[in-house]
């Protein structure tokens, strides 16, 4: 969330006026009419802003780079072992994979609604949406426990072949990022409840939302690779 006001030091028109305007009493004093304040929650933000914070986007691009490398390894391994990857999805639980997807998408939806509630100044609704997002987010590790029990019962451990090893590498790395996200979500819920965010300033909440949505996006890439295509 950012306001529509620009600081005078960064306004080139203001600087130009200061340099060229003669200082004389003959100049009629007239204050410029300020632009009308944007209606909260409905006006588009100025183009080119950084959602959340720069630091969070550095972290997000590190995450994207990490997964881009892991995806490259996946594609090379798949090219070298087409049979193993062709038969791989049959070994995994498609129900669990779909469950992860629905949990993360629903959690992301709740976080997006929480951000909009904050933009409208509805702090209570924001906390409730965030708590709902956390509960759905917890569904991901909960399903993971059941899936791992199933996999190990079927002998799908680290020695079960290149497909399963690739699967564990990518999904465990993603699980770590989900854990960071869940911890971050608890922090943001607490700060929202304590009134740390306002309609004007809630960049921390927005930064978290960006991280959570990118983590969600990465799962949307992992899911078809392992559960649908192989």
């Amino acid at each position: 969330m950012s306001g529509g006001w620009q600081h005078e030091d960064s306004d080139p028109f203001h600087a130009a006026r200061c340099r060229s305007a003669p200082v004389t009493l003959a100049v009629p004093l007239s204050l410029p009419t300020p632009a009308p304040a944007p209606e909260l929650g409905t006006a588009p933000a100025p183009a080119g802003r950084i959602p959340g914070s720069k630091a969070m986007w550095v972290g997000i691009f590190c995450e994207i780079t990490e997964f881009a490398l892991l995806f490259a390894v996946f594609f090379v391994a798949r090219a070298h072992h087409p049979e193993a990857f062709h038969n791989g999805p049959e070994q995994l639980s498609l129900l669990a994979g779909t469950g992860y997807t629905l949990m993360l998408l629903t959690s992301g939806w709740c976080v997006a609604r929480a951000l909009h509630a904050m933009r409208r100044g509805q702090r209570g609704a924001c906390v409730r949406w965030m708590v709902a997002g956390f509960v759905f987010g917890l569904g991901y590790p909960a399903i993971k426990i059941f899936e791992l029990q199933r996999n190990f019962a079927l002998g799908l451990d680290g020695s079960a072949g290149v497909f399963i090893v690739s699967y564990y590498y990518l999904t465990f790395t993603h699980l770590v990022h989900v854990f960071w996200g869940l911890l971050g979500m608890l922090w943001v819920i607490a700060r929202t409840g304590l009134g740390a965010y306002t309609v004007e300033e809630h960049s921390g909440l927005e930064a978290f939302a960006c991280y959570w949505h990118v983590t969600d996006m990465i799962w949307l890439m992992i899911f078809p690779l392992f559960y649908l295509l192989g």
Binding site: I50, P51, I64, F75, V76, L105, C210, M221, L225, L228
Partner: protein
């Protein structure tokens, strides 16, 4: 339509596409055709998240371009590596040993 309603509809579309995608996965068949369909579904889902959840259209152009390149690149790579798996295998053979 309010922004909240757009988010709700985007979520509904994402759920439907995910369940539909699972249907594609459970169907018997493999190859380039399935890879193309799965990649298209993936691309639509990523675009929905980028637009309605991440609000990427409001972000700085460099952020927008980088994230969109990642999101568009993955479905394209899925199709290319399915179509040209043998070529990729021979190109990377020296690395794997």
């Amino acid at each position: 339509m309010s922004p909240e309603r757009k988010i709700d509809l985007a979520w509904l579309m994402l759920v439907l596409l995910s369940v539909g995608g699972a249907g594609i996965g459970s169907a018997d068949g493999a190859g380039l055709g399935v890879a193309v369909v799965v990649s298209l579904v993936m691309a639509v889902k990523l675009r929905l998240v980028c637009t309605y959840f991440l609000e990427l259209h409001e972000a700085h152009p460099r952020i927008r371009r980088a994230v969109l390149a990642f999101c568009h690149g993955m479905p394209i790579l899925v199709i290319l590596t399915t179509a040209f798996g043998d070529t990729l295998s021979s190109l990377t053979g020296a690395l794997i040993g």
